[in-house]
Every structure is written in structure tokens, then in C-alpha cells.
């Protein structure tokens, strides 16, 4: 810029000078004056040039168009409105902060497929409200001798609480209003310290019969098979239990006496000993000092392998106790629930026998669930010492009863068969053309009563062998509701006749039974 200006000025002066020489009539004074004016203008231009350079260095010579209007100063009213808006915005932010904090502390109330439960915001505490109603109908055919009565029954009417406090102390409190005097089937606390070791205290299912350990609403038939009834239904005591994962996998913490999820599980318990099919009344204490020891191991050896084998599990359970003149419970048919082994019907001269002395049981057991198929089986051998009197003379009998069962089931509608309940893929809704889940099932079960038993009890009043086969159809309307329909035929050896010397077989029992069950 500077050289260009200087060149231009020099050219102008030269031209003037040239013009002067060519005119040859210049006035020297006027020329000098003109030169001074030009020098003065040149100095001013230099000053201007320096100022421009400074502005340029300061970055003030922007190529952007200059803003012509000065920024507007907001009026006091606008300022006031701005402050009001700011205040309102801030109030909302503070309120949001307060609400967020408050919401974070609110418990979570969850109602849906998983039931009804309330969980504290920190997830340390939970209470789950559960319930079950089982309304049954039993109808006997070919029952000319009127041994059994057709009836509608309320099998279960339960509402219970279960959950945990401080994350790992689980509890279950389950009354059953359909039961007679014994309205509290389960009431326990389980301190789940670690999956490998938990402490269960209270009243719970003894870990013996596999089918007994299955949830009361989850079974395949209306009622369980013969082996179940050679163990206690419930007992009061203390159990240490735990689970181990397959090497390389961690075990899952499963509270309560039933664990069908882990690779290897164990249960070790000391209980009062409630006797075969017994369940102590709420206020009933032990009737003798010695206790029953119960142990069980169960494994899913193919867990985390091929899907078809993952649902295979097998185990062994056993118990040992020393009972003392404990009353014996009569044995009944699985579905019909009619008594076929009656300890009160005794031979002439004998007193009613009691369980008195050593008692031990052994339960090998297994199941296999693969896709829609399910198989379950267990065997039991139960030894117990019975005592009676004849003409005031003590009589002692060693009784060894055995029972077994195999059941198979198949889900027709594509759901997985499980040890738990079948969960329908689609709930029953005829207007949408969905029909829930359907399951077919068949079972064979037998029980053999030790012949020594009939030294005391009347063989013409009690059968020494029972064989039951059962067919069932289960219709799962949704996760909560289902309809079961079973047909069972039970044949007997012995149990009928005019007296002990003329024993014939008790007539077979034919029963059709159905159940509407709601369980959540």
C-alpha cells in the first residue's frame, strides 16, 4: 500500500513539473506554494497510513459490514420480565431436583406377569403378595359300594407374603384358609448369606420327595403320586442349604427349600420329624427329644451344555430319625384321596400301632425337561419300626414300605416344559384366536406295604399294594390361571373281605377330577 501511494504522488509531481516546463510561463512563487501543499498532503497521508496500519494490526479492519445500529438497551419492563422468567425457570429446576430426589426414594410397586410386589428404592427390601385358589371336583365311577363320595372341594385358599429384608434375609409366611386346623403350611426365614451356604429356619417342606418339593401350584396332576406320601409334608426345623455353579460359572442364590436352577445343590436339616405325610399343627411342638436328620444332594450335570440335556437332574435324598410312639397317618389314593391303608383298622386283640423306633427313608430321584417333553421319576424305600400291644404284651414290627412313580408330559403348544409352571406363549383369548398352553400327561405309580404291617392291622380293611395310572390334560389360560383334568385308575391287592382270613382285592378306584386354579 505504501509504495503504491508514493509512486502515485511522485508521478503527479513529475507531471506538474513537466507541465510547468512545457508551459514555460510558470510563476516560481506559485510553484513553490503548490509544492508545499503537496508535501503537506503527503505528510497527512503518511499519518493516515500509519493509523490504518495500527488498526489493521489490532484486527479492527474487519471485512464484515459494520453494525450501524447500537445495541438496544432493554427497557425496565423487559428486564423485570426477564428476571421473572429466570426465577420461574430456576424454581422449576429446583422443584425437579427435589422431585427427582423424592422419586428416587419412593418404593417401586410392580404389578404384572411377575405378580404383585413392592421393592424399596435401594432394592434392599421387598414384599411380594401372592395367592392361590384351587377349586376341585371329584367324581367316582364304577363305585357301586359307595366307598367314595363325589364332591366339590376347596383344596387351597392361600394368600401369602414372601420377600426379603436387607437383601439377603428371605421370608415366607403362607397361611391356607382352606385347611382345617393346620392353616400355616409355610412360615420360614432364610438367611441367604452366600449361594453356597444359607440358613433356613421355621416350617418348610423337608428335602426328601422330589415331587413334594415341586411348587404346590406347579405339579402336573391335581395331586402327587404315592412316593410323596411316605415323607413328611411339612416339618419344623433348621436347614443349611446351598448351591454350587458348574466350574467356570457362578451359582445363583435361590432362597427357600427348593432349588431347581443350580449345577449342584445340597440340603442338610434337623427337624422334629412329622411322620409320613405329616404336617405339624401351628402350635404343636415335638413329642419326643430325638430329631430327624434329612439330607439331599441334587445335580444338573449337563448344565451349560446342549439344550436337550440341560434340564436333566438327578439326586438322592434320605432321612434318619428315632420316633417315639408317634401316631401313624393313613395312606390315601393320589387323586381320589380315599383311604386304602388304615392304621386304625386293626386285627383282633391288637392296639393301634405307632411309629416307635428307628425310621429311615431313601429317595433316589430324577427329572428331565427338554423342550416340550418332561419326565420325572422317583423311588422310595421307607423303613420304620412300629409298636403295638397284644393282650398288654408289646409287639414290635419292622415295616419297609416302598413306592415309585414315573410321569411323562408333553406341551402341545410350543412352550418349554419345566419343573415349575408352564408359561403360555399366548394367553387364552378366543376373540384373538389364541388358546393358551396345553399339556398332556401320564403317570404310573405304585406303593407296596410291608407284609409285617398286617400282623397288626387288618388286611381285609387295608390294601397291601396299590397301583395307579393317571392321564391328565392341563390348560394354562395364562401365567396365573389353569384348568386341570385328570382321570386315574387305582387297583389294589388285598384290602377287602369279611375278615383277615378271607382277604380279597379291594375294588379298583376310577376317578375323574378337575381343578380350576388361580395362582399368582
Amino acid at each position: 500500500m505504501k509504495p503504491l501511494q508514493r509512486t502515485a504522488l511522485a508521478s503527479v509531481i513529475n507531471l506538474i513539473l513537466l507541465g510547468m516546463s512545457s508551459a514555460q510561463a510558470a510563476d516560481t512563487q506559485a510553484l513553490e506554494k503548490r509544492i508545499k501543499e503537496l508535501e503537506s498532503r503527503l505528510a497527512k497521508m503518511d499519518q493516515l497510513e500509519r493509523r490504518l496500519e495500527k488498526l489493521d494490526q489490532a484486527g479492527l479492519l474487519s471485512t464484515k459490514p459494520l453494525s450501524l445500529a447500537a445495541p438496544a438497551v432493554p427497557s425496565p419492563e423487559v428486564e423485570k420480565l426477564n428476571r421473572k422468567v429466570n426465577t420461574l425457570e430456576r424454581k422449576l429446576e429446583v422443584q425437579d431436583e427435589v422431585n427427582t430426589g423424592a422419586f428416587q426414594k419412593l418404593p417401586v410397586f410392580d404389578v404384572g406377569e411377575n405378580g404383585f410386589r413392592i421393592t424399596s428404592s435401594d432394592k434392599k427390601h421387598q414384599v411380594r403378595i401372592r395367592g392361590a385358589i384351587q377349586a376341585d371336583g371329584r367324581f367316582f365311577s364304577e363305585d357301586g359300594s359307595q366307598r367314595s363320595t363325589d364332591s366339590f372341594d376347596l383344596k387351597q385358599a392361600r394368600i401369602w407374603l414372601e420377600g426379603y429384608v436387607f437383601k439377603n434375609i428371605y421370608y415366607k409366611l403362607m397361611p391356607d384358609f382352606a385347611a382345617g386346623g393346620n392353616i400355616l403350611p409355610d412360615a420360614y426365614i432364610d438367611y441367604a448369606y452366600d449361594p453356597a451356604i444359607n440358613l433356613l429356619v421355621g416350617k418348610f417342606k423337608p428335602s426328601l420327595s422330589l415331587e413334594r418339593l415341586q411348587g404346590d401350584s406347579d405339579g402336573t396332576f391335581l395331586e402327587r403320586a404315592f412316593p410323596t406320601y411316605l415323607a413328611s409334608n411339612r416339618d419344623v426345623g433348621i436347614q443349611v442349604h446351598g448351591a454350587f455353579g458348574k466350574p467356570g460359572y457362578s451359582a445363583e442364590s435361590v432362597p427357600g427349600p427348593i432349588d431347581s436352577r443350580n449345577f449342584l445343590t445340597y440340603q442338610l436339616a434337623v427337624e422334629n420329624g412329622a411322620g409320613d405325610d405329616g404336617s405339624p399343627n401351628n402350635n404343636a411342638g415335638a413329642t419326643y427329644d430325638s430329631k430327624e436328620f434329612v439330607g439331599r444332594v441334587f445335580s444338573h450335570p449337563f448344565q451349560h451344555t446342549t439344550p436337550w440335556l440341560e434340564g436333566f437332574g438327578f439326586g438322592l435324598a434320605g432321612s434318619y430319625g428315632d420316633s417315639n410312639t408317634q401316631a401313624l397317618k393313613n395312606q390315601a389314593t393320589p387323586i381320589g384321596r380315599t383311604t386304602y391303608l388304615d392304621y386304625t383298622k386293626i386285627n383282633s386283640g391288637y392296639a393301634t400301632p405307632t411309629a416307635d423306633g428307628d425310621r429311615n427313608r431313601l429317595y433316589p430321584q430324577a427329572y428331565w425337561y427338554a423342550g416340550p417333553f418332561g419326565l420325572m421319576g422317583e423311588y422310595v424305600t421307607s423303613n420304620q419300626q412300629l409298636s403295638s400291644t397284644k393282650s398288654s404284651k408289646a409287639v414290635s414290627i419292622k415295616q419297609e414300605n416302598t413306592a415309585w412313580q414315573v410321569l411323562a408330559s408333553y406341551v402341545l403348544t410350543g412352550e418349554d416344559n419345566t419343573f415349575g409352571a408352564v408359561k403360555p406363549i399366548q394367553n387364552f383369548d378366543p376373540f384373538k384366536g389364541t388358546w393358551g398352553a396345553w399339556q398332556l400327561a401320564a403317570r404310573w405309580s405304585e406303593l407296596n406295604v410291608d407284609k409285617n404291617t398286617f400282623t397288626v392291622i387288618d388286611p381285609s380293611k387295608s390294601a397291601n399294594h396299590a397301583t395307579a395310572w393317571t392321564l391328565g390334560v392341563n390348560w394354562y389360560l395364562n401365567s396365573y390361571a389353569l384348568i386341570r383334568t385328570d382321570y386315574e385308575q387305582v387297583s389294589f391287592k388285598g384290602g377287602a373281605g369279611s375278615d383277615a382270613n378271607h382277604v380279597s382285592n379291594r375294588p379298583s378306584e376310577h376317578v375323574f377330577a378337575t381343578r380350576f386354579q388361580l395362582s399368582f
Binding site: 428476571r83 429466570n86 426465577t87 430456576r90 424454581k91 429446583v94 430426589g101
Partner: protein
């Protein structure tokens, strides 16, 4: 050859073992504090870490957590694993004993000055030029004055604010409680927004430009002048205010569990050292060490101070003023 290799492996193993054993321990502390102490502990923590390293050879990392003092005390009670608490008022710290016995009953006597290594007071921050001519507490209860102060239900600083105003009102009304209540009711009627903590209130006043006056900790007011410019705000020291005594304590139950009792105790003890007190003074808290306090005295305006004892201590004040259905609930309900 084979034997030599074996010897080498054994020797190397012992060397590694020896090195491992002589390695410095690395410990972590969590300091759960109230809102305005962020800058103080940001400066103090590395100084303490250096001191601890020189003293023991161990590395210590100190994490900070800040929110309203009451909220922080509740967090610790609900499971936040603080090794130390440095809260706004003794009542909040005492809850750790009262509710869960996380600290001993005599916690306040375990460190000098009732476990308060620094004090402060409550002052006003106004906009540059003090357009509403606010000079004392009676100016901020005038109609048309917009006040920013946090919520005493969640903020320890806010409770100090409340008591400072209440104390002023009592002193100027012949100790008449009814007059004090009217005075403070009017004050909260002028409150534009009740933030949950002191730092939130600062944000409202400084960044959101809400209100004519911010009632706040003296150190917080100085922090605003330093950070946001003395050309935008002015600090107004009232004629009378309350001496705030924020206490500190080792949460012994948690520190024992973490194995940090020794370092946590020293962390708090070192606040009383000359080095710690210097940092306290530089951050506009009032040091408790007389020598350091004298050095920093000139940065604080003179004012008359009264103590929490005049209300019968924190337990009495809390129950009377800030418990559910207490005086604050009554007047804020009326003031809203």
C-alpha cells in the same frame, strides 16, 4: 545349567516378594462435605496427600462429595461410605451417632474447637453498586426486595441463615419471639427461590441473575467475588450475624471397615496445622489458629457475632425451628 536356572528363578521370586512387601500402600478416603467447601478441599487434599506420603510413604487419594449438608448426612446414614464428614453444622454430624452409631457419642470432643477447624459467618452478596441499598438484615425484609437463600430443610447453610436472621430480630426486638417470627416470615416472603444447597443458591443469584441479595456463607461470598468479579457483585457485612462452626468427624464405623482410621484421623488433624489453617484462610474461612486468624483478619469486615449456644445448641434449634411442623414449616407455609 539347570541348577543355575533354578537358582535364578528362586532369586527373582524373592526379589519380587521383597519389592512387593516394600511397596507403598495406596489408600482412598471419601470426604462427604457440604456445598461450598469444594474449593477448600480441592486445595487441601493434594497438600495433605503430600504430607501423608512424606510421613508414611503411603499414597492417599481423597474423593470429595458435596451437596446440602442435611442431604449429605442422610446419604451417609443410607449407606454412602464416608471415611470422614465435614458438614455445615453439628446437628447433621450428630445424626450419624443418633441414627446409626457410626461415630462415637463424644465425637465433638475428639478434635479441638468442638471439632470445628474453621468458622465463618453469614453475610449478604448484592449486585454491583448495591442498587437496593442493602446494609443490614432489616433492609432485606422490606417489601420489593428479592432474596435468594437455600432451603433449611436440606441445606445446613440455610439453617445458619435462618438463625442469623432470627438472632438479629430478637436482638432488635427485646428478645420477643413473636417479633422475630414476623421478621423471618417477611424474609421468606421475599425469597424468590429456595435452592436445595448453598451452591445452588449461588448459581441462582450469580448465573441466573435472580434476586437482589444472596444470603450466604462469608467464604462463599468471597469466592463469588474472586470467581465472577468484584465489578459485578458486592459483599455486604451486616451489623450482626451468627458464628458458623462447621464440624468435622471421622466416621469411625466406616473407616474401621475400610482400614482407614489412622489416615482419616490425620486428615482431619492436619486441618488444624499451620499448613491447613493457611489454606483455610486463603479460602476465606476464618482460621481457628490465633496466629493464622490474625494474619487473615484484615480480609474480613468487622461485625458482631453470636453463637448457636444462644439457641440452646443445635439439637434444641433443630427441633424448634427445622423439625416437621417446626417454626420454619409454620412461617414458610405462611410466607408462600
Amino acid at each position: 545349567m539347570k541348577h543355575n536356572f533354578l537358582k535364578l528363578v528362586i532369586a527373582a521370586s524373592f526379589s519380587i516378594l521383597a519389592t512387593t512387601n516394600s511397596q507403598a500402600a495406596e489408600v482412598k478416603l471419601l470426604n462427604v462435605s457440604y456445598d461450598p467447601t469444594r474449593e477448600l478441599y480441592q486445595e487441601y487434599n493434594p497438600v495433605f496427600a503430600k504430607y501423608w506420603k512424606e510421613k508414611t510413604g503411603d499414597d492417599v487419594t481423597i474423593n470429595q462429595s458435596h451437596a446440602g449438608s442435611g442431604k449429605q448426612a442422610r446419604s451417609v446414614l443410607e449407606g454412602l461410605e464416608a471415611d470422614v464428614v465435614t458438614l455445615a453444622l453439628a446437628y447433621d454430624v450428630d445424626q450419624l451417632y443418633q441414627k446409626r452409631k457410626l461415630i462415637p457419642e463424644n465425637w465433638q470432643s475428639l478434635l479441638p474447637n468442638n471439632s470445628s477447624p474453621y468458622t465463618s459467618t453469614i453475610v449478604f452478596l448484592v449486585r454491583k453498586g448495591n442498587p437496593k441499598a442493602i446494609k443490614d438484615w432489616n433492609d432485606i425484609v422490606k417489601p420489593g426486595i428479592s432474596i435468594v437463600t437455600p432451603n433449611p430443610k436440606t441445606s445446613g447453610g440455610a439453617r445458619w441463615n435462618f438463625l442469623a436472621a432470627w438472632g438479629y430480630a430478637l436482638k432488635h426486638n427485646n428478645n420477643e419471639e413473636a417479633a422475630a417470627k414476623t421478621f423471618v416470615t417477611q424474609l421468606y416472603k421475599n425469597a424468590a427461590v429456595l435452592d436445595t444447597g448453598a451452591r445452588g443458591a449461588t448459581t441462582s443469584f450469580v448465573e441466573r441473575e435472580i434476586g437482589d441479595v444472596l444470603i450466604t456463607w462469608e467464604n462463599e461470598a468471597y469466592m463469588v467475588l474472586k470467581e465472577f468479579g468484584a465489578d459485578k457483585f458486592e459483599l455486604v457485612t451486616p451489623s450482626l450475624s451468627i458464628l458458623t462452626e462447621p464440624p468435622v468427624a471421622v466416621v469411625e464405623d466406616i473407616a474401621r471397615k475400610h482400614g482407614t482410621t489412622e489416615v482419616a484421623t490425620e486428615y482431619l488433624n492436619h486441618l488444624y496445622s499451620k499448613e491447613g489453617q493457611e489454606i483455610i484462610g486463603k479460602n476465606y474461612y476464618r482460621p481457628t489458629d490465633p496466629e493464622i486468624a490474625a494474619k487473615y483478619a484484615k480480609q474480613f469486615q468487622p461485625l458482631q457475632l453470636f453463637k448457636i449456644d444462644e439457641f440452646g445448641g443445635w439439637n434444641v434449634a433443630q427441633n424448634k425451628f427445622f423439625a416437621d411442623d417446626g417454626v420454619f414449616d409454620q412461617i414458610y407455609g405462611a410466607g408462600k
